[in-house]
Symmetry: C2
C-alpha cells in the first residue's frame, strides 16, 4: 500500500500518553487493513520552548510540511503561562495554523451514550444533539494588526479584525459541502447588526448559498446563537462562523454535550492535508499518571482516516471498536462512575486496539 | 418630595404594553411611598424610524439628557431588519449608549423559583445561581473604525477593537465595587492569550485589584468562561468583560437561568444616571395581544429605584410584590404551565401594583 506520512506531535501534559495510544491504533490498522504509516515525532509547545527555545521550531514545521497529516496531543501548562508572548505554547498553536494554512477547524459536538448524564443539560434537551462547528482559523481578530499607542485617555491597545472575500468564501463553501453530507442544515453565525466583517461574511454566505439550494440556511446572530445552543442544541446541524466567535461557540457546544473529554477535532487547509487533535487540553494535573482518557485522540485518528486519507472502512472500525469497549463497560477514571473500577490510559488503548 | 424625571421610551413590539404596566408601578409607589415622578415619553427605534426618519431623533436624546433616568421597553422588528444601517433600530441603540455615556451594562442572571424548571440545565446544577454580568458598553469593536477596502484576495472588511486605560479602569472599578456588596468574587473575562486589548484589560484589572483586597479575583479566558457558565454557573458572582464578549456571555448566562423573560438590566454612566430595560426583546409575534409578561420591565423599575434614586424601600416593595403575585400562582402565558389559566399583561400589572 502507499505509505502515508504522519507527523506526530505529543506536546505537553497528558499529550504524550494519549498520543502513544493513538499510535497503537495506527499500528493495529496497518495489520488489520494492510495500511502503511510512517510516523515522525516532532517537538511543539511547552516542551519545544524548554528544549529548543521556541514553541514552534523550524524542524517541527518542516516535519509537518512534509507529512500527509499531523496528529497532535495537547500543548500548554502553567509553567509557561507567564512567559513573554514568543515563548508561550499558544503562540506556537497560532503559528502552526497560519504556516500550514489550516483555515478551517471542524469540531463535532456529539453526545456519547455512556456520558449523556455527564452533561449539565437535561437529557431530553440534549436528545439527538449531533452538530459540528466549523470555525475559520487563520483570519479575523486573531491575526490582524495589534499594537499599543498613547491616547488622551491613557495607553490604548488595538486589535484589528479583517476578513476578505476569499477567506470567507472557502470556509463557507466547505461548510455547505459538509452540510450536504449531513442533515443539510447550515447556520451561519455573525454579528451583522454591528460588525462590517460580519456584513461582508453574510453577503458572501448569501451569494455562495445559491450553489447549494438543497441546504437550508439560517443566519444567526452570535449572541442569539449562544442562547439557542442552550435552548435547542439538537436543532443545529452545521454551524459556520469566524475565528473568535468560533472559539467561544465551539467550546460552549462541546461542553453542553457533556462529552468534552471524548471529542476530536480536525483543522484543514486546501487539499487533503489536516491536523487532528483531541478537544481536551493538556490536563497537567493528571499528566504522567496513566489516568488520561485516550479516546478523543484515538477518534482523532478516525477523523484523519476519513477526512485526509479516505480510509472509510478503517475509520468505521476504530469508531466501532471504541463503542464496543465502552459498551462492555470499560472506563478510564474521567468517565467512570465507580472510580475504583477505572482502567488506565494504556489499558484503554490496548482494549480498543484489540477490538479492531 | 423632590420630583424625579423619567424619560419613558416604549419602543416597538411589546414595548408599549410592558412599559404601560411599569408606569402603573411608578404611580403606585408615588401613592404608597410619597415619591414623585415626572415622565416624558419619547420615540425611539423602529417607531422613530417610521415617524421621524431616524431611530434616535434629537428630541429623544434631549428628553433623555434632561431626565434622571430612562425606562426603555424594547426596540426592533422584522420590518426594519433589511433597512440600511442608519435606518435600523440597533443603530439607535448603539447611538443612545454612546450619546448618554452609558459605559456599563449590568445584567443580573437569577433563577426565579417558579421558573427553575424552565431552564434546560439540570436543577441541581442551577441551584444557587445568582450572578451578574457587567459588560463594557461604549468601547471595543462595537465602536471602532469600520471600513471596506480592496485586497488582492477580493474585497476586505475591517473592524477595529480599541480600549484605553480610562475605559477599562472605570468599568473594572465599578465591578469590584459591585462585588464588594455581593459575595466578593469577581471574574474578569478576556482573551489575553491572543488579543492586545485583552492584555491591556488584564493589566488594568490587576492594578485596580490592589485597591480591593477583600474581593477574590479570577481571570477567565472567554472560551473557558462560555464552558464554565454551563458547568458551574452558581460559582460565579460578578463577571466583568468587554463589549463583544459581554454581549455573548450575558445572553448565555441569561438563557441558562431559564428566567430570561423575567430579567431586568441597567446601563449606567458616570454619576447616578441610568437606562433601565428588560432583557427580553420586542417579541413582535405577540405584540398588541395582551400576552406579554410585564415583570422584567417592572423589575427594571426596581433596579432604577435602587441604582439611580436610592429608593431602597420602594425597590424592595416592588420585588416583594412580584414575588407575592407569583407565589399566589398568577402567571402570564409565557410562564404559565396551564396556558388556559394565564392572565393578561394588564392583569399582571394590576396585581403587582395592588400588592405594593
Ligand atoms: C490557546 C488558544 C490560542 C486557542 C484559540 O483561541 O484558538 C484555543 O482556545 C483553541 O481553541 O484552540
Ligand atoms: C441589537 C444589538 C446591537 C445589541 C448589542 O449587540 O449590543 C443587543 O444584542 C444587546 O445586547 O443589547
Amino acid at each position: 500500500a502507499d505509505v502515508k506520512k504522519i507527523a506526530v506531535i505529543a506536546g505537553d501534559g497528558i499529550g504524550p500518553e494519549v498520543v502513544a495510544e493513538a499510535e497503537k491504533i495506527l499500528k493495529r490498522t496497518e495489520e488489520v487493513f494492510g495500511l502503511s504509516f510512517e510516523t515522525e515525532h516532532a517537538l511543539f509547545g511547552g516542551i519545544a520552548i524548554d528544549k529548543k527555545g521556541t514553541p514552534l521550531p523550524q524542524e517541527t514545521l518542516a516535519v509537518c510540511q512534509s507529512a500527509d497529516a499531523v496528529l497532535l496531543g495537547a500543548v500548554g501548562g502553567p509553567q509557561w503561562d507567564n512567559n513573554p508572548k514568543e515563548l508561550r505554547p499558544e503562540t506556537g498553536l497560532l503559528g502552526i495554523r497560519k504556516e500550514l494554512g489550516l483555515f478551517s477547524n471542524l469540531r463535532p459536538a456529539v453526545v456519547f451514550d455512556c456520558l449523556k448524564d455527564a452533561s449539565t443539560l437535561k437529557p431530553e434537551v440534549l436528545e439527538g444533539t449531533d452538530l459540528i462547528v466549523v470555525r475559520e482559523l487563520t483570519g479575523g481578530i486573531y491575526f490582524g494588526e495589534k499594537y499599543r499607542r498613547e491616547s488622551a485617555q491613557g495607553e490604548e491597545a488595538v486589535d484589528t479584525c479583517a476578513y476578505n472575500v476569499t477567506e470567507v468564501e472557502r470556509i463557507v463553501r466547505q461548510s455547505f459541502e459538509i452540510a450536504q453530507k449531513r442533515r443539510k442544515k447550515l447556520a451561519s453565525v455573525d454579528k451583522a447588526n454591528v460588525l462590517e466583517t460580519s456584513r461582508l461574511w453574510r453577503e458572501v454566505v448569501n451569494r455562495v448559498a445559491v450553489d447549494y439550494p438543497d441546504v437550508e440556511l439560517e443566519h444567526v446572530l452570535v449572541d442569539n446563537c449562544a442562547m439557542q445552543l442552550l435552548r435547542r442544541p439538537s436543532s443545529f446541524d452545521v454551524i459556520v462562523t469566524e475565528n473568535m466567535f468560533g472559539d467561544i461557540l465551539s467550546d460552549e457546544a462541546a461542553m453542553l454535550t457533556g462529552s468534552i473529554g471524548m471529542l476530536s477535532s480536525a483543522s484543514l487547509g486546501e487539499g487533503s492535508f489536516g491536523l487532528y487533535e483531541p478537544v481536551h487540553g493538556s490536563a497537567p494535573d493528571i499528566a504522567g499518571q496513566g489516568l488520561a482518557n485516550p479516546i478523543a485522540t484515538i477518534l482523532s485518528v478516525a477523523l484523519m482516516f476519513r477526512l485526509t486519507f479516505g480510509y472509510e472502512k478503517a475509520a468505521d472500525a476504530i469508531e466501532k471498536a471504541v463503542a464496543e469497549v465502552l459498551d462492555a463497560g470499560h472506563r478510564t477514571a474521567d468517565i467512570a462512575v465507580d472510580k475504583s473500577q477505572a482502567i488506565s490510559t494504556t489499558q484503554m488503548g490496548d482494549l480498543i486496539a484489540a477490538a479492531i
